[in-house]
Symmetry: C2
Subunit: 133 residues, 2 copies
């Protein structure tokens, strides 16, 4: 499975805010808010001033949703977006940011697995002592 790209239709296709929201699993409110907060560079507009999301925009949003879901604060996502907008000279910084975040995600998974053990233990106990109440 290639995690880097995903077809979203024919080339030169662009999506409305509603379509993009649907596709990435965020609301239109959130999409506009992300733009306002600088998590997303200003999105292109059509002649009527309506947002048009390109495949690249959608890819970026997908990445953002992953960062959010793994617990990255919006503040850090903004920082990352700013770095990305500054181009190649910030590559090292962006890589460091990802590595730090990966470490946090790994720790998170480890914690969840620990907590899962306790959950399993509890459920097992409810099972073992069934009918004793």
């Amino acid at each position: 499975m290639d995690v880097s790209t995903q077809e979203i239709g024919p080339p030169e296709t662009s999506l409305s805010v509603g379509e993009a929201a649907e596709l990435v699993g965020l609301t239109t409110y959130t999409l506009r808010w992300y733009e306002q907060e600088g998590l997303v560079a200003p999105v292109g507009r059509d002649s009527a001033g309506r947002r048009r999301y390109t495949a690249a925009d959608v890819e970026w949003l997908r990445l953002l949703t992953r960062l959010r879901r793994t617990g990255m604060p919006v503040r850090d996502m903004r920082r990352y977006a700013e770095l990305a907008r500054q181009g190649d000279r910030t590559r090292a910084a962006r890589r460091a940011l990802f590595e730090a975040h990966r470490a946090r995600v790994l720790r998170q998974i480890g914690e969840l697995e620990e907590d899962l053990k306790v959950l399993n233990y509890k459920i097992d106990m409810y099972q073992r002592t069934e009918g004793c109440g």
Copy 2:
């Protein structure tokens, strides 16, 4: 490792709110708030009206911190606490609650592992294209 019990000192020992907070990794504010919110049954008091946390109280708090950390909303923790206070006749409900929560935690771990892949891919990409900027 026995996840069900942990020594916290000689028998009949009880802890102040500050000591309990330190031990379970919450603040004194949060401990009082948990009590107020019904996540913890009213804690025993000394002659001066100060809270005294027993080993059982601390165990309960440890469980709560695990539930919180795995993303259980406070509302659901309260529900669980209420069930627990109602005694054995709610065993089935509590078990169901844990099983539902375990399913969520498993899904969570799965998602995190997916997201980790993307993170790894990105970091790898920053590595592969090093010096190309």
